[in-house]
């Protein structure tokens, strides 16, 4: 009896280990989060899960990192205009800690020579700084590898979807372009097909409170932003390559809203603080926030998110080195932005009555 039970216990361990081994092998061969190799146009990609794998294993020399403002960059335009081999990681609502984790990983792998980082003002205003990137995807030890291969996300989320994709592909089913986008590394997290753009839509969203600028807690805002900027800058090692920061071109409506909520001036001061601080290093900062196109709501889906044509325009500016901001032209830029905002306010006076 005792012998039979001992055999039962040993069999339990054996079966569990065998299942784990088989599943690990399958997950390793599929590798949906690119922890061992990358495979384009094959699997459903989520930025939160594949970013670290792409940074570790993709072939690139330029990394573009940022929030939803960077998600619609066209990699072909970047290749053509900047003559680089880019990888873009755009994660909606990315925070300072997540940027730090990903940029740190990029430094470790040493693939990139250029780092383009989108600087969203919300990175500096938020208090939450928890990482949403699973820790097992950031570490490189054996335990983390096994956690990945045997993870819930791999086995209950992505592998079933990937197998469904493969089966549909095998059956010759043509999926909508949205699904094709979701498999493309170049189009990672691209949302340009998900929304419509235009003045009417932006105004309707603004009036309806939909996709409006989230309310910012103005209590102690500037000192909070200064602290967050210091932490953000500390993420970077400017010796590791060419670093470029850019302030994305929010619409004038965004800035009117900032005036309404009373944080416009604090944002300007924070931007000045940022530029002054990074100017100590060999970096470039682009400020697109005073550009003329920000006054045209046809370029937007809401107060801050712009169409992919604007992304293309930004790339051309990178190539021609327009809109670089320095300590010297900061005041002038601020003046233009204020003038644009005031003119916009006059044009849409009814909105603010």
């Amino acid at each position: 009896m005792n012998k039979k039970i001992k055999k039962w216990i040993v069999s339990f361990v054996g079966i569990v280990l065998s299942i784990m081994l088989i599943l690990s092998t399958i997950a390793y061969s599929i590798d949906p989060f690119f922890q061992f190799r990358t495979k384009d146009d094959s699997y459903m990609l989520s930025g939160w899960f594949v970013s670290s794998g792409l940074i570790k294993n993709y072939d690139y020399d330029m990394l573009i990192l940022g929030s939803s403002m960077t998600q619609n960059f066209d990699m072909d335009v970047i290749r053509e205009e900047l003559k680089v081999n880019p990888l873009h990681i755009g994660l909606g609502g990315i925070n300072s800690r997540e940027i730090g984790e990903l940029i740190g990983l990029a430094y470790e792998t040493g693939n990139a020579e250029k780092f383009f980082v989108g600087v969203d003002m919300s990175i500096f205003t938020t208090d939450t700084n928890e990482s949403r990137i699973p820790s097992y995807l950031l570490k490189d030890d054996m335990l983390s590898k096994f956690r990945y291969l045997l993870s819930y996300e791999v086995w209950f989320r992505y592998i079933p979807v990937d197998i469904a994709f493969m089966m549909l592909d095998g059956l010759g089913v043509e999926l909508p372009i949205k699904f094709e986008y979701s498999k493309s590394i170049d189009k990672l997290e691209d949302w340009s097909l998900d929304y419509s753009f235009g003045e009417e839509i932006v105004l309707a969203n603004y009036i309806g409170g939909k996709y409006a600028v989230s309310n910012v807690n103005t209590d102690d805002l500037y000192s909070r932003m200064v602290k967050n900027i210091d932490n953000f800058i500390a993420n970077f090692d400017f010796e590791k390559g060419e670093h470029v920061f850019f302030f994305p071109p929010y619409s004038s409506l965004y800035w009117c809203n900032a005036q309404e909520q009373g944080y416009f001036d604090m944002y300007m001061q924070a931007k000045e603080y940022f530029v002054n601080n990074v100017s100590e290093y060999d970096v470039k900062v682009y400020d697109f926030q005073y550009a003329e196109l920000t006054t045209n709501l046809d370029n937007y889906r809401d107060t801050s998110h712009y169409s992919s044509e604007v992304n293309d325009w930004m790339v051309k500016c990178f190539a021609s080195q327009e809109y670089i901001v320095t300590k010297e032209n900061l005041d002038m830029n601020k003046e233009i932005l204020t003038t644009n905002t005031n003119a916009f306010r006059k044009k849409y006076a009814k909105l603010f009555e």
């Binding site: 009896m1 216990i9 079966i15 784990m20 989520s46 699973p134 045997l150 993870s151 996300e153 989320r157």
Partner: protein
Amino acid sequence: MVFSSYIFILLFLPLVIVGYYFLSIFKNSIYQKIFLIAASLFFYGYYNVKYLLLIVISIIVNYIVAIWIQEKKLHAKIFLVLGILFNVGLIGYFKYYDFFIENVNVIFGTDFLLKNLLLPLGISFFTFQQLSFLVSIYKKEEKVENLCDYVLFVTFFPQLVAGPIVLYSEMITQFKDEKRRVFNAENFAAGIYMFSIGLFKKAVLADTLAEFVSNGFGMVDIGFVAGWIIALSYTLQIYFDFSGYSDMAIGLGRMFNINIPFNFLSPYKAESITDFWKRWHITLGRALSTYIYIPLGGNRKGIIRTCINLFMTFFVSGLWHGAAWTFVLWGMLHGTFRVLEYLMGKRLEKIPHSVRVTMTFFIVNALWVLFRAENFTQAIEVYKGMLNLGNLGINQLDMVVGVSGGINFPLVIDIVYIMAMVILLLIVVFRFRNSVTRLQEFVASKRELLVASLAFAVAMLCLSRESIFIYFNF
């Protein structure tokens, strides 16, 4: 540390098992006990070392008070009162201080600052356990044994942070039993089996339902179908979460040859609220009955006093579960139903069994909404949804499922997924044998081997999801 974590399953548990049985080579059991206490304290203090100080102080004070009660017979009652005051004060300070101050501020318009104290892990459980110990010493039902046995009784890690609430008498005899010191393959296999089932319930079922519940309880303008799915999801989640934890605790106990009492017995098959509390969190019901209901007079002082005593017991139960009015109301409503059933007596038995089970389930399900809601507004939103016959659409289920694991599945898939899951699990809780029966009937067969190993393996895959046991908050 939580049971459903890699660190516990892959490192802590194997090391403690090996260490514990290795020490059985010594004739004196003290080494094994000290080892188990050290492991339990490490388990307890893993996330926050500060908790350790609290539990150690609690144990030492209670042990000294117990000795005084036992030895200074003339003043035993005084020492018992002191012991009760200490325990109630401890839990009152950590669990109810802010709740009290909040209410004082509201009633008197004062502005006293809240302390925002972090609730020490399992404080309700180990405090209750020690209170019951003091009472049993006072009643001379027990004798204070050596400190080591007492510390092990309180800290034994399988039941330390979320029960089952064990009695001194049922544990101490087992700790002293020499036969239980050595490895027993039969117990160990049964333990593995029970632990695997519990782990599956928690990591696979409860944590999946938790996503629906978390999304659902944040929604407004909820439709009829979504309202019911949200409520049912929580009813299922709390059952699989807590009974899963209890199964794991019982399984772990078995691995060390210790029988921990059962805590669940197919509670949703209950035919009345009275019956429900004989099947749900059984050890809490036992403790509340012994230390609240019976001392209040139980059913010995007439119908009215019995009703008041029943109601008060459930009022305390509500408050024990959490420092919020939603918990208090939840307890009071259970108490009200319990009183009504008492008054109706045998007349209830005339109602067909299936109708009684269904009615009981609907009541329990509706009251769980109150239990889960962060405030009354949130509960009302779900209740409004459950009654919203003007919106019978199923599209909202997409929001209940949410963007799980970074994938926003198409609406049809989400609807099929959540409906199938809830219906399937309802069938499981109503039709399947519970884990207690499974454990009692356990034989090391191929079928049980397959069930245990598959449940364990699938649960292991789900461990990468961060989760917390619901009852850790109580």
